[in-house]
Symmetry: C2
């Protein structure tokens, strides 16, 4: 309808099932197909998949995946959690900068909800980020356990619920499907 | 684990939420990134999105989307349902042929479950199709209301559940996101 508002959406993919990141990736491909500029930021180190990274390289420059966690020094916080916290904070910082840059049409904050849930970054910082979103930018947040304050601010929330999973049947992760 | 079986999976994206086709599209991109050959067959006419079609064109030849419903003659079955039935049957026929061809690594039967639910094609024909799947082929079925017989045969089933939707808030479908 012509009277409907035109605006960038805040979308959330949550739940315990597969497909949260994968659906974000599909959205990224659709947007890229429409000539939009897409950025995917990964808030959890090692959360990236080879298939995605290879595809992104082929779809460059308007389709970017950035991994975080570089420059971590063991002495700072001698734990795996410390390393994850470092990566998540780098991702948050990059998100702030790139959302403000207004260079992208779609930014995906992959596993940001997971990073909040595990206390790697603060919910308030992410809510502040949502408040700074340029009008036309689409923002996608993925991860388990979306907090109610994020759901409240989102336009579209989908829960991916696992009904049946192959790993429980002794089938190995399959190249191109799982990674 | 090294003892785990290596095989092509049957994956199902169902539920009333967004993201069933979008997650399949993300899977297609990941597989394509791994150098696999991908075919997407659309069982419901008009179910395609412009962003997807444009992206597929850029990712050709190893990333194909085929729409059905061509060659429908009004006199055959003078209704919109007749046209949909015609498209779904064409898609089923093509699926049979291309699954048997063994030319693809991943085939997506988009909205095939919707086509079964509305009686456009028969459940038994789709079950037969699953039985004919070459060992290494990954097959993805999407659509609402996955029948129990399909869930039984699937390796991975995810339900996409709508928690919140923007159209109920008077926000128009957004280019690159919804289509």
């Amino acid at each position: 309808m012509s009277t409907a508002k035109r605006k960038g959406l805040i979308l959330v993919n949550t739940g315990n099932g597969k497909g949260k990141t994968t659906a974000a990736l599909g959205m990224a491909l659709r947007a890229w197909g429409q000539g939009m500029k897409v950025l995917i930021l990964q808030f959890i180190k090692g959360g990236w998949k080879y298939g995605e990274l290879k595809a992104a390289r082929k779809l460059a420059p308007d389709f970017e995946i950035r991994q975080m966690g570089e420059g971590f020094i063991k002495g700072e916080d001698d734990s795996s959690l410390g390393e994850h916290r470092h990566a998540a904070r780098q991702a948050l910082e990059t998100a702030r900068k790139e959302i403000a840059s207004d260079r992208y049409d779609l930014i995906i904050l992959d596993e940001v909800l997971y990073a909040i849930y595990y206390g790697l970054i603060k919910l308030d910082d992410v809510l502040e980020l949502l408040g700074q979103k340029p009008e036309k930018l689409h923002l996608v947040l993925t991860g388990r356990n979306a907090p109610p304050q994020i759901i409240e601010r989102a336009d579209l929330v989908t829960e991916m619920r696992e009904v049946k999973h192959p790993f429980t049947q002794g089938i190995a992760a399959q190249k191109g499907i799982e990674y």
